[in-house]
Symmetry: C2
Subunit: 188 residues, 2 copies
Amino acid sequence: MSRWEPNARGRLEQAALDLYRERGFEQTTAAQIAERAGLTERTFFRHYADKREVLFGGSPALEQAFVDTLAATPATAAPIDAMAATLETVAAFFLERQDFARQRQAVITANAELRERELIKLASLSAALAATLRRRGVKEPAASLTAEAGIAVFKIGFERWVGDSGERTLAEFLRESLHELKLVASGE
Amino acid sequence: MSRWEPNARGRLEQAALDLYRERGFEQTTAAQIAERAGLTERTFFRHYADKREVLFGGSPALEQAFVDTLAATPATAAPIDAMAATLETVAAFFLERQDFARQRQAVITANAELRERELIKLASLSAALAATLRRRGVKEPAASLTAEAGIAVFKIGFERWVGDSGERTLAEFLRESLHELKLVASGE
């Protein structure tokens, strides 16, 4: 197939999400995804290493964005404020991506292996954030606890954003989630 | 084999931990564990469903202890104080178990599949604690954030306790970890 394939990646992504939800992740093959997208299996593998990468291909870039943003916050900021600024910046990556995030979440929730993969992703992110904080001079256990708190805020805020049918942005949900964590920790 | 087997479970546990550390978890079989313990494979399977259960057999009881203790705290306590009281009580389960916990942690750290299993255990624990808090009337997202905060405190405090060669109890490490989380959240 040598014809031009406009937005092949986006078409494959949507076809994959549709099939994962219709048939289940396990039951879907790369060939079926390509067929649904009107593309060849070879084109699928030019864009994705396997069918799981449609869901997790963005994870390394997300982790890098988290780490780079956290590393770039002023060294004078309290760790939790550096984390707040980081969440704010990272949230911008998800503008226009709520539909994808919502469909992706439905697929992941329905499959134990994918839920495990998501937990591993978040644990890796937490470890990377703790290491970044230590490089900024934050001592342990403060570094690890700030990282875990940031991931908890991200996880809960993200789930609420995905489950929301309104117009509020991820940044708003993350801000609310962080505010709530602070209230909780202060015993209010 | 009909002779009496004094402390068969304890002997199997120690033999398993020794072999997992010497040969790796993957490379160890139930038969080898039994042999090392001077017992039969049949005796192994009377005590453990499989070799993974030596490491994770206590997880359901731990989760139940967490949930029961949290549910029994006075309803007037702030959620974070209820969580603090719960951590304090649960820590008592680990008195006399530091050697086991330390050996177990070394095995888990060395094996990706076991690290994933540990993450799943903690995620399940967090979900159970959030559900318990909701039953106490705590609203979302406060319930989920309190649960996540409690698990973060438990995870970090536990890791520090396991890595410590001194005499301090798990309860002390959990108290310190919670105190540090409160400082972090308040921006100090």
